[in-house]
């Protein structure tokens, strides 16, 4: 099977979707002729024409707001916000409009849009090129939130998101665009061509939204992770020798609660890992659900490893990013508790 980078897989997903459905349109800042600052839309304008893939003014609310209007018309826009850090001007349109259109109009109008946003840190992006704002979306009724961790999933999940009848926030960990990253910034990065999840089937396939994947079966402790943290958790398990079961959530909302509960009931322990800041982060929801659903099976308090409650710094990148050492400590503490 051909191997692709995550960028190539994402581009392939849009290519496949645009080829199958003339209602799919792709636009955003620098997305058209240039093919995107991360090359995710390279070649799409040449292949499908300027009316299907085009550049947008630098106006996030305009990009999302116009996409909502297009969706109300009957198109299926897949738009890009250049960095998740810049979605805030579109937050009104996303939370008050896209998320609620079906509900408030009782299905008279719907909003089948996908909003792609590169997310996450580990790239010396500083305060406004590293944020992980997923909790600001999972808190909103009416949105779906997806975070892929590899090329195979990225393609299948993005096609599923584009075909989904409701608005989907598609957060792409940019640290994973060219290869998996386990937090060991001092080691050379392995490209996706060397990784089995870099295998991306040609043509159309989907991965259902709302289904988690077990990346590493284990019996000692359940690790709930998504995006870059999946590889950090894998490294931490290897380095500590702890038999952790690592669950890649893939979709945060709707959440695969069954997979989480089955694993925690088996292991009796749970560590939640994310890059986003700790307080009121998505991890708090995960901990709460585990506590509610697995209380009598828990042998230790559920631990969280997250970004500190500070803006994402520049020079202190690796003191901030929750790397394998911090995750490993949490695994050990949870086993010893």
């Amino acid at each position: 099977m051909p191997r692709k980078t995550m960028i190539e897989a994402i581009r392939d997903a849009m290519d496949v979707s645009m080829g199958r459905d003339s209602k799919v349109v792709v636009y955003g800042e620098d997305v058209g002729f240039f093919g995107g600052v991360f090359r995710a839309t390279q070649g799409l304008q040449a292949k499908y024409g300027r009316s299907r893939c085009f550049d947008a003014p630098i106006n996030e609310s305009g990009i999302v707001g116009s996409a909502i209007g297009m969706a109300a018309y009957g198109l299926k826009p897949c738009v890009e916000i250049q960095f998740a850090d810049y979605m805030y001007p579109a937050y009104d349109q996303l939370t008050q409009e896209a998320a609620r259109l079906r509900y408030r109009s009782n299905g008279d109008f719907t909003c089948p849009i996908v909003v792609r946003m590169p997310t996450g840190g580990g790239i010396f992006g500083g305060q406004t090129h590293s944020q992980s704002p997923e909790a600001l979306f999972t808190h909103v009724s009416g949105l779906k939130t997806v975070v892929p961790s590899n090329p195979h999933d990225a393609k299948g999940l993005l096609i599923a998101a584009i075909e989904d009848p409701d608005p989907v926030i598609f957060l792409e960990p940019k640290r994973l665009y060219n290869g998996p990253f386990d937090g060991h910034h001092d080691r050379p990065v392995t490209p996706w061509s060397k990784h089995e999840l870099g295998e991306v089937a040609d043509g159309h396939y989907t991965i259902p939204l709302g289904k988690a994947a077990i990346r590493r079966p284990g019996s000692a402790v359940t690790v709930l992770a998504y995006g870059t943290m999946v590889y950090v958790a894998q490294a931490a398990a290897e380095e500590t020798g702890i038999d952790a079961e690592i669950i890649d959530l893939r979709t945060l909302l709707p959440l695969d609660l069954d997979a989480i509960v089955a694993s925690v009931k088996k292991t009796g322990r749970c560590v939640v890992v994310h890059e986003a800041t700790l307080t009121s982060g998505f991890g708090a929801e995960l901990v709460s659900l585990v506590q509610e659903n697995c209380f009598y099976h828990l042998e230790a308090p559920v631990a969280r490893v997250a970004g500190w409650d500070t803006p994402y710094p520049h020079a202190q990148e690796w003191d901030y990013f929750p790397g394998p050492a911090r995750v490993g400590r949490a695994l050990i503490e949870t086993l010893e508790a």
Partner: protein, 410 residues
């Protein structure tokens, strides 16, 4: 250069406050018929003056004059008068229903009836409006059943929106009326997106965006103008300048700019300003803008100069911030009376027929109200089920909502 001294902060104030004598002497009203009617493919730069004037058709004598006159038949105008009278009666009844506790909230259109009622007649089937909460005339003029509007206002068991929305936040795709949101200006850019989609799809349908004077200050007003300008979207960008945004006079949103219409000029968008209380002028300008959009000539910005004669909403008391008699002093008068006088002048209407029509319309509205109330009001009779609260958020209900619905016992 003279010494400028210390800086002073500028906050615009209306000319008159409660207790004062209404004064619109600073509002320049051009004579009816004095503004030319350009071709629809006019170079926007050559009609810049139109953003600072006011297109008017009906003069003081009730005659239709000038190049924007003569588009509508007697029958169409009589129908237009009936739409405006119906909306006014509907408003009065619903305002009363709110005072009687039959619903929680209402917003009237008093004095602004011509804007949406006349505009609707310039659109074709399939075109889509993105209205604010003060364009119910679009529904009335398109024949949307009044009883459905009332069911929505009452949040009763027949409410098409299942009790999920605040009263007057209607939605009807079938009638080209996009779902109303409480968040101001959001629909303005959505309208542009809808129009872009129509162009992308090589369709012939156009969109109409709606916004009030106050909300032009919102970011999405700017977003809409940028996108409409960039992509030459087939959209009519309507600004209803009724002088007031709740308690805030229009100068707070407009600042030192000449007019709201003038804001279109910087985007290369042709901008017209029209007498919003002149049914004929509103219709003629809307038709011009619609033809432009349909001919792929791009967007038009239209400012309707009118006056919000009623309170902002059923929760508002305007006597706290403006003179009580200000609406009587408004120089563009009342849209219903002006069209009535014109029809009498045309010899197709009379005071007697008008009085009779008022009685008939009241009877029709009361009958609709009775029917709606048979389905319940906010606190009495039938209402949407608790189940409806959980449904329709997503096409398919996700597991966490199913669990919550079970917890709620439904």
């Amino acid at each position: 250069m003279a010494d400028a001294g210390l800086l002073r902060f500028h906050v615009p104030e209306p000319e008159v406050r409660p207790g004062g004598t209404p004064d619109f002497s600073n509002v320049t009203i051009p004579k009816a018929g004095s503004v030319p009617r350009p071709e629809i493919d006019v170079d926007p730069r050559s009609i810049r003056d139109m953003a600072f004037s006011i297109i008017r058709v009906l003069n003081r004598a009730g005659e239709a004059v000038g190049p924007w006159a003569g588009l509508l038949t007697d029958e169409e105008l009589l129908e237009g008068l009936r739409h405006m009278m119906t909306l006014r009666t509907f408003d009065a009844r619903m305002q009363m229903a709110q005072r009687q506790g039959k619903t929680s909230f209402y917003m009237q259109h008093l004095g602004e009836e011509a804007v949406a009622c006349a505009f609707r007649k310039a659109l074709a089937p399939g075109d889509m409006n993105f209205p604010t909460y003060r364009q119910a005339g679009l529904l009335i003029a398109d024949g949307y059943p009044m009883v459905m509007m009332m069911n929505q206002i009452y949040s009763n068991e027949a409410d098409p929106l299942k009790g999920r929305q605040l009263p007057i936040m209607y939605s009807s795709k079938e009638h080209g009326f996009f779902s109303i949101s409480g968040n101001l200006a959001t629909q303005y850019i959505q309208a542009v997106g809808w129009a872009m989609a129509s162009a992308i799809s090589n369709d012939s349908r156009i969109a109409a965006a709606w916004i009030g004077d106050g909300s032009t200050a919102e970011s999405d007003f700017h977003s809409a103008l940028v996108f409409a300008s960039t992509y030459k979207a087939p959209v009519i960008l309507n600004v209803v300048n009724n002088q007031w945004a709740i308690s805030t006079f229009q100068g707070i949103a407009r600042g030192g700019s000449g007019t709201f219409a003038a804001r279109g000029l910087g985007f290369g968008i042709p901008a017209l300003r029209v007498d919003g209380n002149d049914y004929l002028a509103v219709h003629a300008v809307a038709k011009w803008a619609a033809e432009r959009a349909r001919a792929n000539l791009g967007p038009t910005l239209v400012e309707y100069v009118t006056y919000r004669a009623g309170a902002h909403s059923s929760s508002d008391d305007p006597s706290a911030y403006r003179p009580k008699a200000e609406s009587d002093a408004w120089p563009l008068g009342d849209p219903v009376i002006r069209l009535k006088n014109h029809l009498i002048h045309r010899g197709v209407w009379s005071e007697e027929r008008h009085t009779q029509a008022e009685a008939e319309i009241l009877e029709t509205v009361i009958a609709a109200q009775k029917e709606a109330e048979s389905h319940g009001t906010l606190h009495a009779g039938g209402k949407p089920s608790t189940r409806d609260m959980f449904e329709g958020l997503y096409e398919e209900m996700p597991p966490h909502l199913r669990r919550q619905r079970q917890q709620a016992g439904v």
